[in-house]
Amino acid sequence: MALPKQTPKRITGGVLAIVLSFVSLGLITLWSYEGGTGAEANGFLHSARSALATVILPFDRASSFLGQPVDALGAAVGDATASDATLSELQAQNDALSSMVMRLEEYRLENERLAELLELSDAYNLESTAAHILKKSIDSWNQTITIDKGTEDGLAVGMPVMSPNGLIGQIESVGRFTAQVRLLTDPNSGVAVFLQANRSEGVLTGSIERLLYLNYLSLDIDVVPGDVVVTSGAGGVYPKGIVIGEITSVSSSPSDVYQTVVVKPTARVKYYEEVLVLTGRQSEVTPSAAASTTTTATGGTDTSTTSASDDSAADENANENSSAPSGTPADTGGGE
């Protein structure tokens, strides 16, 4: 008796669509369970994402190579109405001087308040390592940059990242040779800050409009445009005293509990090719593990991308010689 001929079952589109949709939903659920966005998130999927960063390194480098002439073209077009090189030079000089004034003001106020505590070590004595920006975000929903340093260089998730003019973000994913930094302007970013003038504390968050909003400032606090905003150090992620920006507008209505304060960041990522990653505080590192790639950053606002100290060169060398970095981050963990 002959058996009926059996035809192999084919996967139909509908079945496959359902299966793949459920797989995707499972991944989203697991990703959320691991912590979702933020430096505190940890788990298999987040680790896999970090591992994959090594695989796509050639694409990152290709994008960096391609981006250089495009950025140069954009800058040239932007400066076309001015005297080219002069405008760029003056812009950079103005940024540096503005940052310096803010930093000096911060130092002056702190010196007044803490004059009796001069024997304490400088709280802003930070270890940092310079890195090149490889590329910006590959999608519209995350404001990130990819830098060319990773775990091989002592970087870790949660480390603050700054440009010569101020804080720009925090490492959220790190591979062996690259790291992804979530910028302060991302809606999922947040940092505890205070106003330089009156020490009023608040929380600075990014937004979809790429503006910074200073939240939780009650209506009775005197806030005026031009006030400088610096990190407060609360939460332990970002060191205290790093300049972020200055207030550009303040508004409120009678029904509001808090003021609506918009902050213009002093650090503009598009103008820089290098950033500094703060790997730890000198006072907290052990002298046993020296790392030649690290430099010293003081005050968090520096005019050099490779050596960020505003102390004299002699002081800087003395610091490097007397206190070698361990590579252990002083600030890791969750975002604020």
């Binding site: 589109g13 496959l16 669509a17 995707s24 499972g26 896999a48 590329k135 937004s207 979809i208």
Partner: protein
């Protein structure tokens, strides 16, 4: 079920690779006002217009998953969106429409609107898009416009290279570059 009217599977693979390279290398460079073009979304939709559900689904899910791993967004979000879109668009093509480039553009635009909106919804649900309503104006609409321009260009290139092999056209013109090269 896949039909004999589809372009060679090699075309789908090459399209996927090109889309991935464009997204990882070119897209970050040509950002406009914070909006990054979504080459992968566009290519998956165009591929789904010319192929059956199985091919489109595999391509959409795989590309979405790779890009999810490369970004810092919700892992699986883009994979889910591209899976849904690939199935919907490839199913629509089974003789529903009988138009040319204009109808293709309408389908592409509708799919782009659905895709970008779905992404924003998923981001909002998992808490990665805290400003959902604002994002519709600031991100979704500009992204749709940017993607539509890129989609038109890529669609013309695709039709020139592969030929109009969409289901409704009855198998294409037979004058495409891939047919001449016997790919």
């Amino acid at each position: 079920m896949e039909t004999a009217q589809q372009p060679p599977v090699g075309v789908v693979i090459v399209s996927a690779v090109i889309a991935l390279v464009l997204q990882l290398v070119l897209a970050p460079v040509i950002t406009l006002f914070g909006v990054v073009p979504n080459f992968v979304l566009v290519v998956v939709i165009i591929t789904a217009m010319h192929n059956g559900p199985v091919r489109s689904l595999v391509m959409g899910f795989a590309l979405g998953l790779v890009l999810d791993f490369c970004s810092l967004g919700p892992l699986g979000a883009l994979a889910l969106v591209l899976t849904i879109l690939a199935y919907a668009v490839s199913s629509l093509n089974k003789g529903v429409f009988t138009g040319g480039i204009v109808v293709d553009m309408i389908i592409l635009l509708a799919a782009l609107i659905a895709g970008e909106f779905l992404i924003s919804v998923i981001y909002a649900i998992v808490g990665a898009n805290p400003e959902f309503l604002l994002s519709l104006v600031q991100r979704v609409l500009p992204a749709i416009a940017y993607d539509a321009i890129i989609g038109l260009i890529l669609m013309l290139i695709y039709n020139a290279v592969v030929g109009d092999t969409s289901f409704r056209s009855g198998g294409g013109t037979g004058r495409s570059l891939t047919r001449k090269l016997h790919l």
